[in-house]
């Protein structure tokens, strides 16, 4: 636990580092976030790490198990469904509220879709994950409404965590097509249609999940015993405390 490379990064950076790590699928659900490790990693005391964790917790991105540790959330199947539903509600409402697509907006989306295409061509899966989520954030940015942007960013982060848990295979091309269709409707000025397409698109992605799968392998037992809910799946829990310290 010697001190490390980084230094006086100013407060919000811990938060943003973690969120962007999730958005680009570099941080997996269930990852342990030790206060001490983060503290030495960022060159600050536990206090500031803790503050960042609290903030992330209210954003639904991180979760604390009392006296055991902080973990990146592992959304349950129910939570996954709720996240997709919330996104459908907000994104459809957002698109329907739009009246015009400005030139700048058209160019931004066009550039984004090109990036998607080149990432698909390059087979860069991590970048692709990031771009697929970012498309929706870009649309929110068109509205110029910072509140909506923030909400959708957090929901997108949770969506990516959900994908990492439940998505067996990644239909990037299909998602890209969905994005293109939405863009076309927007260009045509038909925002009602764009909203419908966005809902369909989110439905498609949600259908691509296997929500009976991975996490909480004890769920059957748990529910048959009618125990409260869930903590952290033992899968990602470190087995050996001593090894923890090694980085």
């Amino acid at each position: 636990m010697q001190d490390s490379q980084t230094s006086d990064t100013t407060q919000k950076t811990i938060e943003e580092t973690i969120v962007s790590g999730i958005l680009s699928a570099r941080i997996r659900p269930g990852t342990r976030l030790s206060e001490n490790q983060l503290a030495s990693l960022f060159g600050v005391s536990r206090t500031r790490v803790r503050e960042a964790m609290m903030r992330l917790e209210t954003r639904g991105i991180v979760h604390v198990s009392p006296r055991r540790g902080w973990f990146v959330v592992e959304p349950s199947a129910e939570e996954a469904i709720a996240v997709y539903e919330a996104r459908r509600i907000i994104e459809a409402g957002l698109l329907r509220s739009m009246r015009v697509l400005t030139d700048a907006g058209r160019e931004a989306l066009d550039a984004h879709l090109n990036e998607e295409r080149s990432a698909i061509a390059a087979g860069d899966r991590q970048r692709l994950t990031y771009l697929m989520g970012d498309f929706h954030i870009r649309i929110a940015e068109l509205s110029g409404n910072a509140i909506i942007v923030d909400i959708l960013r957090d929901l997108t982060a949770r969506t990516i965590l959900i994908s990492m848990l439940y998505q067996s295979e990644f239909h990037a091309a299909q998602s890209h097509d969905g994005h293109c269709r939405i863009f076309q409707a927007m260009q045509a000025g038909d925002f009602g249609r764009a909203a419908e397409l966005a809902v369909e698109h989110l439905d498609e992605v949600e259908m691509g999940l296997d929500l009976t799968a991975r996490p909480d392998p004890l769920s059957e037992l748990r529910s048959s015993l009618s125990l409260p809910s869930r903590t952290v799946s033992p899968t990602d829990r470190p087995k050996n405390h001593k090894l923890q310290r090694s980085n």
Copy 2:
């Protein structure tokens, strides 16, 4: 600064106390929230107060001016507009996503509207403020989506702060009528219409604001000097430090 009545309230209570204080219009925008005062009021140390403040800050309800203090936010005119826009987007999307109004839902809304009526009859303005905001939260609860409920609760809190700053008079009867119309459309199963009515309703309320009014009397000077943004309007800033301590 002696200790006080309250005791081992468990963490989230500080947060919820403040939010519900805002929702019922008992806490005004710009109110100073001293860490020390809250700490002794809740019988905890500053640490936990601070954590609550951080959480409230990420929820957009509280704001810190470095080394000066925590304050309940005083939304600027631009922020006020953004809040209403966000609400229109989300509430319209929410209503449009609904397919049926359950019996339980119908009864809940009906009971709520009756409460509105009796508060109007009684002229209980504080209760009325609470109910007028709560109607929209009730609708969100019908969806059963906790994410949407949380988002709308926070936006409603901000809306109430906005009202306290910019709303000269309170058209309770008009708002109540709007709520009734939305309810009727929902009962008729016409959720598209309900969404339209919700947007109109929010527009109406927003129009009732005088956004050129109250806060940040220095805004003209500030913008002509092109200074960053805003901190706390001097109006609500306490003049005398000594008096602070008295409760």
